[in-house]
């Protein structure tokens, strides 16, 4: 694995609790592959479950980009967040 192919993934909200870490570096070509790599790293969330998260790529919601086909470049920053819904 080449170091410069890595993207930084930050977890926020319930995902931070689930993965028991705030940040991880993963090699992936796109968001879909990133979800699969995260599942291989820790099966706490399946790729299907991760599709219900809010995913920001360099501060932009991937829903405004190419959704789960959005391509990743070395040193990209991905944030995976869970919205709260209680009151």
């Amino acid at each position: 694995m080449e170091e410069n192919n890595l993207v930084t993934v930050e977890f926020f909200g319930l995902y931070r609790l689930a993965y028991k870490k705030a940040c991880v570096k993963v090699e992936a070509k796109n968001i879909e592959e990133l979800f699969q790599k995260l599942y291989e790293m820790d099966d706490v969330h399946t790729p299907k479950e991760l599709r219900n998260s809010i995913v920001l790529l360099n501060g932009k919601n991937i829903m405004e980009l190419r959704k789960f086909k959005t391509k990743l470049k070395p040193n990209d920053n991905v944030v995976i967040m869970s919205p709260a819904s209680g009151g």
């Binding site: 926020f12 909200g13 319930l14 931070r16 609790l17 705030a22 219900n52 809010i54 920001l56 501060g59 932009k60 919601n61 829903m63 944030v79 967040m81 869970s82 919205p83 709260a84 819904s85 209680g86 009151g87």
Partner: protein, 209 residues
């Protein structure tokens, strides 16, 4: 010099939900003395509310949340208080005709889409807040914005983690601050900006969703 009392003195606000968030919001907003506060909640206090809901005491268990809240608010505010001991549904949207701003303090995704619709119908903003365990978020939904479609794309209810007294207090405080700043036209959150707060690590992110 900012004067939030002046900014809200002629305003009517509605608080949907009088649980952890709503009870805190109502107490905080009442002390700003808006013209009128309208509250909705069909629930009664129960033992499980004691850990985080301001008006839940050993003496109020079994009583209607809005009735207990009304008594508390009248004791600390000059605002007129209007109570609705019912849950907010599509049927209640016309009741918000005179309202200038809605504070979302409900505890489920389904009701939030109804609240967003009410804001659009009456052309008024909704100050959204939600908590889950030690996490929470705040946003202002301007009329016509589809913020909830971005926050809850699957429209499914979420797994709820145990929460504690300080979590709704913090999120409610920020909601009231954003509402007051909205009325004062002062640096309030912009459309689709969401403030996410992790109280465990005290990591705060303002993101454009």
């Amino acid at each position: 010099m900012l004067d939030f009392n002046e900014a809200v003195k002629d305003k009517v606000i509605a608080i949907i939900g009088c649980g952890g968030l709503g009870g805190n919001i109502a107490h905080l907003f009442a002390r700003l003395n808006p013209k009128k506060i309208i509250v909705f909640d069909g629930d009664e206090f129960s033992l499980s509310n004691l850990n985080r809901q301001l008006c839940a005491t050993k003496n109020t268990i079994g009583k209607k949340k809005v009735e207990v809240l009304e008594e508390r608010l009248l004791a600390c505010s000059n605002s007129e208080i209007e109570t609705h001991p019912i849950f907010f549904t599509e049927k209640e949207i016309p009741l918000l005709e005179s309202v200038d701003l809605i504070l979302d303090a409900t505890d489920n995704v389904r009701s939030r889409f109804v609240i967003e619709k009410a804001g659009k119908k009456h052309k008024i903003p909704v100050v959204h807040g939600a908590i889950n365990g030690l996490f929470g978020q705040v946003a202002i939904i301007y009329p016509g914005d589809k913020t909830f479609e971005k926050l809850y794309p699957d429209k499914q209810e979420k797994e709820i983690q145990k929460t504690y007294s300080f979590a709704p207090s913090l999120i409610a405080s920020i909601q009231v601050a954003e509402a007051a700043k909205y009325f004062a036209k002062e640096q309030e959150l912009k459309p689709y900006e969401v403030l996410f707060i992790d109280m465990l690590s005290m990591d705060i992110k303002k993101v454009n969703i």
